[in-house]
């Protein structure tokens, strides 16, 4: 993880750049003055004028250094040509210089920081991965045509789905079905790893692109408060292309959005941010509630469009919903893993927790590797589906498991040897086995699956990971 340059260091560089315009250095703290002098020397910028400036400060350490290095003036007789008025105008000039100096380096600093590390993401760097839990995807694809058609699409059919898959024409498309999955991972593993909502992970495995965006097949483009259709893919891409700011909360949310910025009090050294590795979107209409909540409030629909993207702070855990996400596959791909299978896992979101588990794995990995996670926009519109009460009648195992899962992830810490997402997952798997395994067999299976997943990832997806 790159340590951002210290504020003082950046300021001194800016001062060095503007040295010809500064006429007084005496207000600068001695240790900074010394460093500025050394950098001026190294840069070969010590002129007669700047040497005089340093001497005029009268600062002992600087004078000793000049003497020790045997730096001497070149004596040229100078004939007086102007008469200086010692008085208020000089005082005013002095004050102006002090402020000017401050101004120069702070403005240079502010402008430099804003233009740094904004990545540009091209269309051919993105894969859109859709897990098909419905056999007829034609209306889904029509709804998303305007947004998806520029990109390469990977559709993975749920291996449990018996009907023939129906897709629309006019897309750059690769479809994977049970036979493909069997071929790659072996038929014994395919249903374990990739059934139901987890089928999309096969798409993540097979993708060769740097970024992946994934939405559930029961979602449509939503509309914002002005009635404009939301391009969820474009928003995910923007979220991933701009830095995240996990070390300090910005009260105006994402400072990289148009019309926003870092607020007063936000440390300058933290304003470069870190790379965003995961973008979690939200849902209008049917929000991603669990079965008890949905059953209790059957008429409850999410109609609030919150116009914000924000970084989830480091060490804060959150439930990542797999319904609408985008991520940097090269950095964190291996950490998105289909491993926590409930005994009664079903084909409706509130009968699963695989994405919640993997979201927390990814957050731990991101926190450890100094990457960011954003949440908020974009919204998608989620269609009505399923019967929460019916789901409640099944065992609500997932809800009980969360009681153990969340405190566990909040306390996990990884070693400094874990430098890639793969390393992190392997280390986490060992801890899961040791600490959660005894509590429930589903965790022991998850730990094994995590290790299997990494082996699979290394074999199939290659070793293109962030080291």
């Amino acid at each position: 993880m790159r340590t951002p340059p210290a504020l003082v260091s950046l300021a001194i560089d800016a001062a060095l750049l503007n040295l010809p315009n500064i006429s007084d250095l005496s207000s600068i703290p001695e240790h900074i003055l010394l460093e500025l002098f050394l950098r001026t020397l190294r840069a070969g910028k010590l002129t007669e004028k700047s040497l005089n400036l340093f001497i005029a400060t009268g600062k002992e350490e600087v004078l000793s250094l000049i003497q020790a290095l045997n730096i001497q003036h070149v004596l040229t007789p100078v004939l007086p040509t102007t008469h200086f008025d010692i008085g208020n105008s000089n005082l005013a000039t002095f004050r102006q210089c002090e402020t000017t100096f401050y101004l120069y380096f702070i403005i240079c600093l502010a402008q430099t920081i804003r233009t740094m590390s904004q990545v540009s993401i091209k269309d051919d760097e993105v894969d859109i991965v859709i897990g098909a839990l419905h056999s007829d995807l034609t209306s889904f694809m029509e709804d998303w045509r305007q947004v998806f058609s520029r990109f390469h699409l990977i559709i993975v059919k749920d291996p449990d789905l018996k009907e023939e898959l129906k897709t629309s024409d006019g897309f750059n498309l690769d479809v994977y079905t049970k036979s493909d999955i069997d071929r790659v991972v072996g038929s014994s593993s395919s249903t374990i790893l990739f059934s139901g909502y987890s089928c999309r992970y096969f798409g993540y495995l097979m993708s060769r692109k740097k970024y992946v965006i994934s939405v559930d097949d029961d979602c449509l483009p939503a509309r914002d408060n002005n009635g404009v259709s939301i391009d969820a893919v474009a928003q995910h891409i923007t979220n991933l292309a701009t830095p995240a700011t996990p070390f300090f909360f910005n009260t105006l949310y994402d400072p990289y959005r148009k019309g926003a910025d870092f607020v007063r009090g936000y440390p300058f050294s933290l304003r470069t941010g870190v790379t965003c590795a995961l973008s979690c979107g939200l849902w209008l209409n049917l929000a991603d509630y669990d079965a008890p909540t949905q059953a209790l409030k059957p008429g409850h629909r999410n109609s609030r469009y919150v116009d914000a993207v924000l970084t989830v702070p480091t060490r804060a855990m959150m439930p990542v919903s797999g319904i609408n996400i985008g991520f940097d596959r090269e950095s964190v791909g291996p950490a998105l893993l289909p491993v926590l299978r409930l005994a009664g896992e079903g084909k409706v979101r509130w009968e699963t927790v695989e994405d919640i588990w993997c979201g927390m794995c990814v957050k731990v990995v991101c926190d450890h590797m100094g990457l960011g996670v954003k949440t908020g926009l974009p919204y998608v519109w989620r269609k009505e589906r399923g019967d929460a009460v019916e789901s409640l009648k099944k065992e609500w195992e997932g809800v009980k498991l969360m009681e153990e899962v969340v405190p566990f992830f909040q306390s996990v810490s990884l070693s400094s040897e874990a430098v890639s997402a793969e390393d992190c997952v392997v280390e986490m798997a060992a801890v899961v086995k040791e600490r959660l395994g005894p509590l429930d067999p589903v965790f022991a299976r998850a730990a094994d699956a995590m290790v299997d997943w990494i082996n699979l990832w290394k074999t199939v997806a290659g070793t293109r990971s962030a080291a």
């Binding site: 910005n250 607020v263 009090g265 804060a316």
Partner: protein, 366 residues
């Protein structure tokens, strides 16, 4: 909603050096409440309070008279003096606002009742231990999302509600210089809890808090006349209060309500005030991020006293100002204790001092 909530339990604290004309616009919302006005600057100047408000007004002479030598901890020529109002209040809740803030409109064009939203934020729990992706689950129309453990859904009491501003954003001087025309026009319809362990830049312009829970930690540090730094009083306070809330498992919310911030301050003046703060915060932030308070600090007061010791011990090397600051923090607590004595309960054996925030009652005769 016609019945104002908490009108006998909430004081509105307003620091001012210019005028209180802005109160006219707030009349429909503020009139039912008691105002505490802190007049900064020249005490001989008369600042008129619009008719019909129930208020008490303190100028510098009053502060000096009331606190005596302890008045040294209250800033002069800076809105930090507002914390005197927090100290002197007898109510459970405080709302504080700047005199250049006006009523904003929500996207539907309706006037925003800032007080009602703050009250709602304070009266509903916070959720600092696990981030809810649909933001405040206690708001109407929202809830806890799938995956949110049920054992954490009760939340914790909310100690602080941090509101935002439309129009002139609260930027620092360098940002103001680079973007002088930027206005905040984005209405983000959310309230959220700031997660435990995360610091934030607390702006004092639009703030409400539970005085009983965190009052002692709401000291707005030494700024203004005779001090080397300005525009950092609310920042310092925010870092202190967040550390205290995290330790005591209390919640801090941010987001709604919005108000309309009308006055852009001079960025050149701001630059001179903030300059040292910009440098110092690079060392202060790691300090606050790494601070731990002992388990036996169970009230905001105890936490704050401990914090003042650590500030003196660990930050004095940055600048002698921090030594002075540590002392001022102690003076503040002493003044707080003097004006906010522990509750006294009557028993059959005579008055018994009951320590605020729990603890063993110590028999005391008066």
């Amino acid at each position: 909603m016609s019945q104002p909530l908490l009108k006998d339990d909430l004081d509105i604290v307003i620091p001012t050096i210019r005028s209180l004309d802005f109160l006219e616009m707030w009349r429909p919302f503020f009139q039912p409440y008691h105002l505490i006005i802190i007049q900064d600057g020249d005490p001989n100047k008369e600042i008129k309070v619009p008719e019909g408000f129930d208020y008490e007004l303190y100028n510098r002479n009053d502060i000096n008279r009331i606190l005596g030598p302890k008045a040294s901890c209250i800033s002069f020529k800076d809105s930090a003096c507002r914390c005197f109002g927090f100290l002197i209040s007898k109510k459970k809740y405080i709302f504080t606002i700047d005199d250049d803030c006006f009523v904003a409109k929500d996207p539907s064009g309706k006037d925003i009742n800032v007080l009602a939203q703050h009250i709602q934020n304070l009266l509903t729990p916070s959720t600092p231990f696990f981030f809810n992706t649909l933001y405040d689950p206690f708001r109407e129309g929202a809830d806890f999302v799938r995956g949110y453990p049920f054992s954490m859904r009760e939340g914790v009491p909310t100690a602080l509600s941090h509101g935002l501003w439309l129009n002139i954003p609260d930027y620092d001087a360098p940002t103001q210089l680079v973007k002088p025309l930027e206005r905040n026009t984005r209405y983000v319809d959310a309230v959220m809890t700031i997660p435990k362990g995360t610091l934030f830049p607390m702006c004092g312009m639009n703030l409400a808090f539970n005085r009983e829970l965190v009052g002692p930690a709401m000291y707005f540090h030494l700024m203004g006349d005779g001090q080397p730094v300005g525009r950092y009083d609310d920042m310092f306070c925010g870092w202190c209060v967040k550390v205290v809330c995290d330790h005591l498992n209390l919640g801090v919310k941010t987001g709604l309500p919005y108000l309309w911030h009308s006055k852009a301050s001079n960025p050149f003046v701001n630059l001179k005030k903030e300059f040292k703060g910009i440098y110092w915060q690079e060392e202060m932030i790691p300090f606050f991020q790494g601070v731990t308070l002992p388990k036996d600090c169970t009230t905001a007061e105890e936490c704050y006293i401990e914090l003042s010791k650590q500030v003196k011990e660990k930050l004095s090397s940055i600048d002698p100002y921090f030594e002075k600051l540590g002392d001022a923090m102690v003076t503040w607590i002493e003044a707080w204790q003097e004006y906010n004595p522990p509750l006294v309960a009557k028993t059959a054996d005579g008055p018994v001092v009951v320590k605020k925030g729990g603890g063993e009652p110590t028999p005391k005769t008066t």
